[in-house]
């Protein structure tokens, strides 16, 4: 990973996710910080990313790296956690039964993915599905059920639905601009996650670039030790 990506691109991208994800447009514009539950989920996600190899923390912070580089690495990790918290807060409905159910859904899905120990591509695909599904639920399904009805029949159906669900499902109407902004925010977040430095397939040779290794960076096939090497190792 280049210094520019670590110092500029990733922290600024994740902080932009925090900012854009916070914007809520209604009759007045407000900025909503990430919820506490979103922070809990984001810490779980960090663990998941590290476990799956989608994020290698030692490539961001390590004793052998210069102090400034470690500070850059820290900003990447902290901003990624905040962005994840904001993304989870964004896709969680504002109140009522849907909020409880989606929170549980997110928690169980993350625990399940942690238990499955998937690799990097699978974790990113899984996150795409989780965030995509919850986005659709909040900004398409619930918004359609809670938004102002176009006709009289739609209004009657809405009132009937509210009556059946005792008003526990309906949410505040969502301004279309908020939905588009949320979509862009989630895309940006997933792009940021895919840019995180992942676990390398093999440890690069210390002090030499991969191109300088005898194999030119390719994985060398395991070979049987020669008779001489075998005798020496036995001694």
């Amino acid at each position: 990973m280049t210094a520019a990506r670590e110092a500029f691109q990733l922290p600024i991208l994740f902080l932009t996710v925090v900012l854009l994800g916070a914007i809520h447009i209604a009759d007045r514009v407000s900025l909503r910080p990430p919820s506490l539950f979103g922070l809990v989920l984001s810490v779980m996600l960090l663990g998941l990313l590290v476990r799956s190899g989608a994020l290698a923390p030692d490539r961001l912070m390590h004793a052998t790296r210069p102090q400034l580089a470690n500070l850059n690495g820290l900003t990447v990790i902290v901003s990624a956690v905040l962005a994840a918290a904001q993304a989870f807060t964004l896709v969680t409905p504002d109140f009522g039964l849907p909020r409880v159910l989606v929170s549980l859904f997110l928690l169980i899905l993350l625990l399940n993915t942690l238990a499955a120990s998937p690799d990097r591509p699978r974790v990113l695909r899984s996150l795409l599905v989780i965030l995509g599904a919850t986005f659709t639920l909040k900004f398409v399904v619930l918004a359609a059920l809670s938004g102002p009805a176009d006709g009289r029949l739609a209004r009657v159906l809405q009132i009937l639905f509210e009556g059946v669900t005792l008003g526990t499902v309906s949410q505040d109407p969502i301004h279309p601009a908020t939905s588009y902004l949320a979509f862009a925010t989630l895309v940006l977040f997933l792009v940021g996650l895919s840019l995180l430095p992942g676990r390398q397939a093999w440890p690069p040779t210390a002090g030499r670039s991969l191109a300088e290794t005898p194999s030119g960076g390719a994985i060398e096939p395991r070979r049987r030790p020669t008779a001489d090497e075998g005798t020496r190792s036995a001694r």
Partner: protein, 166 residues
């Protein structure tokens, strides 16, 4: 550019951006004018639009309160000037005042505005030396608006009909 310089610049940019986001979360601006006004106010460079303020004062003294509020809001689009916000709150108070009952909607707006005026005033203290007003400080105006919104037995006192508008 050397790697250390890139990293140092990146760190500064990240810290600055984080501070901006934290400031935005705290201020909760409603428009770009409020964002730019807030930024310029933080370095002491914010100025209201004086002609609009003068229009507002003229309309306020002619008891055209809604028009006065429009002019004041134009003058202080970033809502960072305590004196202008005080006059807006006062206009809401006078607009909502009634001998038999007060209009809660106007009083609520007035209370929100006077709270904002107090928040942006240095040390939270506003004193407006205007002889045409009967209340000169933000605290007096706030107390009057809160009293108008309160529901208690004094609302039934017939003598309140003889109270005048401040």
């Amino acid at each position: 550019m050397s790697e250390s310089l890139t990293r140092a610049l990146g760190l500064s940019a990240t810290v600055g951006y984080t501070a901006l986001i934290a400031w935005l979360f705290t201020l909760q601006p409603q428009s770009m004018a409020e964002v730019t006004g807030g930024l310029s106010a933080s370095i002491g460079a914010y100025r209201i639009d004086q002609p609009s303020f003068d229009d507002g004062m003229r309309l306020f003294r002619q008891d055209q309160f809604e028009a006065a509020v429009s002019a004041f809001e134009r003058a202080d689009s970033a809502k960072r000037d305590a004196r202008t916000q005080f006059y807006i709150a006062y206009a809401f108070y006078r607009r909502g005042w009634g001998r038999f009952y007060h209009d809660d909607a106007w009083f609520t707006k007035g209370l929100e505005t006077v709270n904002r005026a107090i928040a942006v005033a240095p040390n939270g203290r506003i004193v407006v030396e205007d002889p045409t007003l009967q209340m000169h400080s933000g605290d007096e105006l706030k107390a009057e608006l809160e009293a108008g919104l309160r529901r208690d037995l004094s609302d039934l006192n017939p003598l309140r009909l003889f109270r005048g508008r401040k």
